[in-house]
Amino acid sequence: MSSDVRFTDFKSDKQPTWCPGCGDFGTMNGMMKALAETGNDPDNTFVVAGIGCSGKIGTYMHSYALHGVHGRALPVGVGVKLANPDLEVMVAGGDGDGFSIGAGHFVHAVRRNVDVTYVVMDNRIYGLTKGQFSPTSREDFETSTSPEGPQMPPVNPLALALSAGGTFIAQSFASDAKRHTEIVKEAIEHPGFGFVNVFSPCVTFNDVDTYDYFRGAIVDAEDEEHDPTDFDAARDLILDRDREYQGVLYRDSDSVTYEEAHGLTANMADIPDGAPEDAMDLVREFY
């Protein structure tokens, strides 16, 4: 790892095709800055992206990356990290990817507490398919597939994470570059599953959860002197759906990663060019 890595080193030469003004620009910039500021470089970083507008991030960043199947980004990231714990693994996706088709994986990735960072670009809409309701859309949000609104409460991803034993739960806003970068940095540095839900407005299909809305509604937990290591306080903030919080809402300072608990430190890519030396012992076990 070189110390002179700049965040632009994480930028590929491919121009993003996100709509002008899309929140994903800010989200990605913060991720790149956070990676550079935590001493990573493109050759030791692995980005896993889901499907959707947000999934294109792997193309616009420069690092090792895989853009996979809808909803399965987290399992891929977990596999990469466990096979080579020296890599910095960042998983990115949208609210549909993470909390709808991939919701099952989300809960279990949180429980597993593998040391990866998970950034969700939550725009509360399906953008790439041109505007259907998403798992985080409001109950009355009218879309082409919900003319009267979904009539179901939106998923509370932070509460899901907390109830699944999450060890780092945060929320940020794509247009607050400074705070967003700080928060992602903390997630990277957290030993364990660092989850950051990012308000990443869709300027084309969501006229409700807009930049203006978030600017007015966001409350920074730091300003409230919130102590993220206080579970009860974290729970109260997370369950308070009348306000939109930003900041690190919960952090378990005793977090033990899956890798630590299972003694996984080796780079599994390193293997001998024949069977392991004592492999005949495996055969003899069957006597």
Binding site: S12, D13, K14, P42, D43, N44, T45, F46, V47, V48, G58, T59, H62, S63, Y64, A65, L66, H67, G68, V69, G71, R72, L74, P75, V76, G77, V78, G79, V80, K81, L82, A83, N84, D86, L87, G104, H105, V107, H108, H262, G263, L264, A266, N267, M268, A269, D270, I271, P272, D273, G274, A275, P276, A279, M280, L282, V283, R284, F286, Y287
Partner: protein
């Protein structure tokens, strides 16, 4: 046919049938006898009929047969379930003191041998040992020296303390003595022993052992009958080699974790059965288009849907050959014996990495639950060679960078195999995606690039066809007019069937096919035979369909896969070219 003895213990699930049967199988194996086991079981933890069956001989045994010589019946139902296999002279050992078995009637001609299993077990130290009492009784009936049981009992019970081992040894002897004192049967069963050393293992264990031997370090799976034994074997062993087993939340996750580990450079696999393969199908195409080496094992069971989870079927052939939307280059390898489960696993890992392609390792329930003896040399680890393919390190990476210094993970080489840089390799950073991509791994819909990438992925299969052996295994009379073709676990039964057929005057040539894609060209063999018969455990004859397809006269083909539909004038031109000239040219027209 080997001179054999067929033995079974049956009762209700939860009666310890499996572990008791395993003890006897191990005792036989340690005594230098060959063993081939099978199980009748239901998908439930308690209740229901279950049995563990052993066929044993001093010669190799490759199959079960429809005959039972000694049956330990813990329930009356066990006797009824096996009525057809019992014969004149079969011995049925059961506890006549048991309230549910006092009025048992055994089939005519068989010997009823009531042994007070429970009381004798209590004399030895506890009723729980009644199955071991029965083992002792069986030793006496079969003229099998009881000392042979001791080692197997020690293996099973040593972690429970020496006293328990001794009690079990005593229980076995009480059973033996009871039979010796109370019965004088004129059966001629005689289980002679030899000095040979055998190991005893099942197909799932062989796959697990093959995986470790081949350098597999990452396994992610979701428990499912009959593939779970692979995962259980690896758990607690792979860690000794720096690896890990991850129990995922479902098969979607399992295959994606394995894919992630493979991207990181680990030799990686998952194993499942039909319902799990259905879920994993979602990711087949991603594995193939990202050119990720991955071994996906399908231990087949009866389908469709939940089907008969504990019963045999080879019903997934079409699934593994064709499953997944779009066209997915892949290899499909299917071991035909328990030992081959080991070797084909090793081969699957080499194929996966050499060609950066998903490899389906297709086993079946019959292989998974069969415990079979082999001399340890059958798994000679020195023969294993790890072939990692075109992995490039920091020193070699320069030659795979484009003019702008970017690594090209999907560079269209002549043989189709691109360079592979493990994450962490300096200057190797690259992306890849399930979207069609260019040589840099970036999304594209350009027709030329699309065609180039499809062709390059398919070219790997062509390269492999040329460079690797895709042989079949052959048995019987090579000049016979009748050709029997089979795949998977049927090989053993068919090999022994050849001898029976021969006794009845039928000459048969038998070809057992372990490679399902690419597969050996059987055109000449089919041509040379008068009758061709395909044997497989399914209703519709999926391999028979494949074979019929393979030997068909080829049609001319016009294909287009640029992503653009056919246009009338273009199609007229292509068809005309096919009529008048070389049909192969049509491909070029599209690629231009």
């Amino acid at each position: 046919m080997p001179e054999d003895l067929n033995w079974a213990i049956g009762g209700e699930a939860g009666d310890g049938i499996d572990s008791t049967g395993k003890i006897f199988a191990q005792a036989l194996s340690r005594a230098g006898r060959h063993v081939f086991t099978s199980k009748d079981f239901a998908s439930r933890i308690r209740g229901g009929y279950t049995a563990y069956k052993i066929r044993t001989s001093v010669d190799r045994v490759e199959s079960v047969v429809d005959r039972l010589d000694i049956l330990i019946a813990l329930t009356e139902r066990t006797i009824h379930e096996n009525e057809d296999e019992l014969h004149e002279g079969s011995v049925i050992i059961y506890d006549g003191e048991r309230s549910t078995m006092q009025d048992v009637e055994v089939p005519e001609g068989t010997h009823a041998m009531t042994v007070p299993l429970k009381s004798l077990a209590e004399d030895a130290g506890g009723a729980i040992m009644r199955n071991v009492v029965a083992l002792g009784a069986a030793c006496e009936v079969a003229n099998f020296p009881i000392e042979n049981l001791d080692e197997a009992l020690a293996k099973r019970f040593s972690d429970k303390g020496e006293a328990i081992v001794e009690n079990n040894e005593k229980a076995a002897r009480l059973g033996q003595e009871y039979v010796a004192e109370n019965y004088d049967l004129d059966t001629d069963y005689d289980l002679e022993t030899t000095d040979n050393d055998y190991v005893l293992l099942n197909g799932d264990e062989a796959i697990g052992m093959g995986a470790i031997a081949a350098g597999c370090r990452f396994y992610s799976g979701y428990p499912i009958t009959p593939a779970t034994d692979v995962m259980e074997y690896l758990t607690g062993r792979i860690e000794d080699y720096g690896g890990a087993v991850i129990q995922a939340e479902d098969e979607l996750s399992a295959v994606n974790m394995a894919l992630g580990a493979a991207r990181a450079g680990a030799r990686s696999m998952t194993a499942t059965s039909g319902p799990g393969i259905d879920l994993m199908t979602e990711t087949f195409g991603l594995v193939a288009t990202t050119e990720t080496p991955l071994v996906i094992c399908d231990v087949m069971r009866s389908g469709p849907s939940t089907g008969m989870p504990t019963k045999q079927e080879q019903g997934d052939l079409n699934m593994v050959l064709y499953g997944g939307h779009g066209e997915i280059p892949r290899f499909v390898v299917a071991p035909t014996t328990v030992a081959e489960c080991f070797w084909k696993t090793v081969e699957a890992f080499n194929l996966a990495e050499q060609y950066q392609t998903p490899v389906f390792l297709v086993s079946d329930l019959a292989l998974a639950v069969t415990e079979q003896t082999f001399p340890p040399e059958a798994f000679d680890m020195d023969e294993i060679e790890i072939k990692r393919g075109n992995v490039v390190d920091e020193d070699e990476i320069d030659s795979w960078l484009d003019e702008q210094g970017r690594f090209q993970p999907h560079f269209p080489t002549a043989d189709g195999v691109s360079p592979r840089a493990f994450p962490g390799t300096t200057d190797g950073a690259h992306m890849t995606t399930g979207l069609e991509h260019d040589s840099l791994g970036r999304r594209t819909e350009e027709e030329e690039v699309r065609v180039e990438q499809v062709d390059k992925r398919n070219r790997k299969v062509e390269t492999a066809k040329e460079n690797e052996d895709w042989d079949y295994r052959e048995f019987g009379d090579p000049d016979a007019d009748t050709l029997v073709v089979s795949w998977g676990s049927n090989e053993g039964a068919m090999r022994e069937a050849l001898e029976l057929l021969d006794e009845n005057g039928h000459d048969v040539r038998f070809i057992s096919v372990p490679y399902l894609f690419p597969r050996p060209d059987l055109g000449d063999e089919v041509e040379a035979a008068e009758d061709v018969i395909v044997v497989e455990c399914n209703a519709t004859g999926q391999f028979a369909d494949v074979l019929e397809h393979d030997v068909l006269e080829r049609v001319d083909r016009i294909n287009k896969y640029t992503g653009v539909r056919y246009k009338a004038d273009e199609l007229a031109e292509d068809v005309a070219a096919a009529i008048t000239g070389d049909a192969d040219d049509t491909q070029e027209v599209e690629a231009e």
